[in-house]
């Protein structure tokens, strides 16, 4: 067991969740919504999950400046200093370096757990067990550990991690990181038995991750090093430094380059719920395999369709198969489930047509 006081959880809440439009909007992206209908937003669920692993005061929320109020509203027990704000979104490498330096300034021996804010996890007990294991493997070691998910089907929306099958024990050396594959590749990955889904959850010591940034993103390191973390100057200095930083993901900037990457194969009922179809997949269905996620929906001849309605409005839907129907107070979306990845394109079209108000 590791010392909990040394463990920090960084929840990444700066995403825009465009594929969940029109529920997810710039002003209130996916992680702030109760899309699963459980009574808590994704962010609130993730925060709750973290409290089984680290002390409350060791949770940091990484978010956009524009969402500060929203974050503090949803997590009122947080101290304002626990909300780490990016002036602009610059993908996951800069924000993770920011968090690591900020934590290291206070506690150089800290261990870090990085959690995306908008994933679903069904088995909390198993999750905690795996994270605790990862933390113990990260302690006093120069290891970058990811949480890999045992794949259940050839999902083409996820990245994959291939590991060294021969490694004994629960910690496996990573062989390769792979971006979203074609269906053919995904099927062969599943058949091979040594591939896991990349969950985007990481565990490392501050020392290990800062060393990795020095090696692979040295100019980013040098730029942020100039900030006086945990002082009154931090915010204004971040404002200056942040926009100079390279926009790059931590997977691409660090993990795919490092040699000391490990993975813990896990199985705790995980989904990134990245699209309306992913939400459909995990939702309760009626006899016609519809996921009707709201009241006041009356369906006739509807099959394999997901319906979400955030208003009190009544909806009568007749005759659709394999559709996504989402009604919010701002917009209505009706599109085939097969187009779930293209919702981004609709949103881009809105921007191009000066309809940003609806994004």
């Amino acid at each position: 067991m590791t010392d909990k006081q040394n463990c920090y959880c960084v929840i990444m809440a700066g995403g825009v969740g465009t594929r969940f439009w029109p529920m997810s909007l710039n002003a209130k992206p996916k992680q702030f919504h109760d899309i699963l209908g459980v009574g808590k937003s994704f962010l609130q669920q993730t925060y709750q999950r973290a409290l089984d692993i680290v002390p409350k005061e060791n949770v940091l929320i990484l978010g956009c400046l524009a969402h500060k109020k929203l974050i503090l509203e949803q997590l009122p027990e947080l101290n304002e200093s626990q909300v780490v704000l990016e002036p602009t979104g610059r993908d996951t490498a800069p924000c993770n370096l920011y968090a690591a330096m900020k934590i290291a300034q206070k506690n150089p021996d800290a261990l870090m757990l990085i959690l995306p804010s908008d994933h679903m996890i069904e088995d909390q007990k198993e999750f905690v067990k795996n994270i605790d294991a990862a933390l113990s493997y990260a302690k006093n070691q120069d290891r970058l550990i990811t949480i890999g998910i045992k794949p259940t089907h050839p999902n083409t929306g996820y990245g994959y991690i291939q590991y060294v099958l021969e490694d004994k024990g629960e910690l496996k050396k990573v062989k390769t990181f792979t971006e979203k594959p074609t269906l053919e590749f995904a099927e062969s990955f599943l058949a091979s038995g040594d591939f896991l889904w990349n969950s985007g959850m990481f565990v490392w010591s501050c020392k290990a991750i800062l060393k990795a940034y020095q090696s692979f993103l040295p100019s980013m390191y040098q730029q942020l090093e100039q900030v006086d973390f945990n002082t009154e100057n931090e915010a204004s200095q971040i404002l200056v430094q942040y926009e100079k930083l390279q926009k790059i993901s931590i997977d691409y900037g660090i993990m795919e380059n490092a040699e000391n990457t490990y993975v813990i194969p896990s199985d705790f009922g995980w989904s990134d719920i990245g699209t309306w179809t992913a939400l459909y997949d995990v939702s309760k269905k009626d006899v016609a395999e519809n996921a009707i996620l709201s009241k006041n929906v009356r369906a006739y001849n509807l099959e394999r369709t997901i319906v979400k309605n955030t208003e009190n409005k009544l909806m009568i839907i007749d005759g659709l198969e394999d559709y996504i129907v989402v009604n919010t107070d701002r917009a209505l979306l009706i599109c085939p489930k097969s187009k779930d990845q293209e919702i981004k394109n609709y949103v881009n079209d809105l921007k191009l047509n000066k309809l940003e108000d609806y994004v």
Copy 2:
């Protein structure tokens, strides 16, 4: 030419327009909406149309008690005495008798033009010409004259009128009234050349129509005869008498029984716009034959579909063919065009499921 001071126009505005749900609601049925997007409601258009035929003070609006405020709001130039209110809807025979007796009490020699409040007429000049002709044929004659529309296609949603082809002149003797036919019959009607669509517009003298009611609906006549029309007692007496009256249409109660029925074949671009599909038919289409009747609708792969949106909400619709999509602040309808007659059934289902608030 007839003396205009003797001509009255009765606009029937008591319908519920269920097939235009969700735009048409009990609280504000079809005739009060600008469904054609011309800047005026159907009622306002019909009123305007009548002013080319009769003096303003000779227009009566037949409506439901519940819509009194709405009628006076939409037609502010009306005197309150021109709004003839039914306590409850009892189909078209009672309200037409009510109007005829009320007019006859003031002017026994009056001629009456009866207009439904929710039809579309494209050629006002031709319309006025036909109505003027009908009025002159009705003057001092015991004739019940209907306006028949030369059919352009085998519509199964309309009633048909067969007339005596041999009659010279524009006034034809009616041979039969026919209810909504099957497609097969409608096709043979069209081929035969002596069938017209029943527009629901009538012209007669007060004397002629009152005589017909005495013959064919004598108990209805006796019940309403007890009312002191155009006095302060009228409303309270109507309240008592009205609910005793038989619920029956004027077509079924009078026209199909009378021998003195005539029709004027007309062609002024008429449609009763009875369904969303009828509205689709008369609407301007885009290249994919969609009738997009509102702003803020973005269509992808949409074909032969009608879209109406009464909110500012943005709508993105992908992949539908031959659909009806209607969004209002109260409800959303998505159904195939082929189900346009079944919208009544959806509405009945709402009533059965205690969702009257949405009707």
